[in-house]
Symmetry: C2
Subunit: 155 residues, 2 copies
């Protein structure tokens, strides 16, 4: 399938599918299964998964690693031409980082009612740039299912 | 002066003084002048300053680098026995990271009414651990003065 012939839904599912692959790698490594992909146009410039356990570093969320990798690729810290696909709604820390990056678009899979940024901030946009567009619910069932089975296996 | 004979005020000023030295290094490098120190007991285990320009990475705030360095030193991701001294009130991202770290205490110098976490979150404690104690105003004049003269020089 050529990228140019993809519909918006196919595009979302393709990139979220990559983020899901990353999340599955995290699960295999015993990490909370969250994956993230950053794209510019149709080019993937970062693919990362949560590595907080491996690096014993609370800052090593999938989104944070992806922001750092994308900025490294672009040789500049602003991601205002980029879209982030992430399997779970970003937390307060990641939303803060995404705000500083001025990322254009955030597309997430599953909602996180406990730690997701929408429940933490005093405004709907939270710390995000006013122009950043946020959408949720892409491949939601698969993204949420991965989290559920991970936490069930930990009990 | 022996560490054991320090009063709480002397202790605060000693460690915030180190954070200020870091902030001054940031200013010399053309970075927004914020410095951070993490201590456990009376031992300094991380000393960092903002490096967002050098690394062209929005996540490279002084506090984030200090959290990563302290966790590396401790070989574990939780900082629940540690205190953070930082010259400026942490932003939303850094407060989120500090929440995940379960840090015991946050002591900051200058308030940041625009980007400080107190103005961003829907609750006073924001994303911080319920047990984390936060205090501001230590060497406030020096910390704020450094920021003011930096931004004045940029105009």
């Amino acid at each position: 399938m050529g990228l140019l012939t993809m519909t918006p839904v196919e595009r979302d599912e393709r990139f979220m599918g990559m983020a899901l692959d990353e999340a599955r790698m995290a699960a295999e490594e015993g990490e909370v299964p969250v994956g993230a992909v950053i794209v510019i146009g149709d080019k993937v410039i970062a693919r990362c998964h949560n590595r907080t356990e491996a690096l014993h570093d609370v800052t090593a969320h999938a989104e944070m690693l992806a922001i750092t990798a994308a900025a490294e690729y672009l040789n500049g810290k602003y991601l205002d031409k980029c879209s982030l696909y992430v399997t779970v709604e970003p937390c307060a820390m990641c939303a803060g980082a995404l705000g500083w990056s001025q990322i254009s678009e955030i597309i997430y899979g599953a909602t996180d009612n406990k730690r997701g940024f929408h429940t933490m901030y005093s405004t709907q946009q939270g710390p995000l740039h006013p122009k950043t567009v946020v959408r949720g619910g892409v491949l939601e069932k698969e993204c949420a299912g991965l989290m559920k089975s991970f936490f069930r296996s930990k009990r």
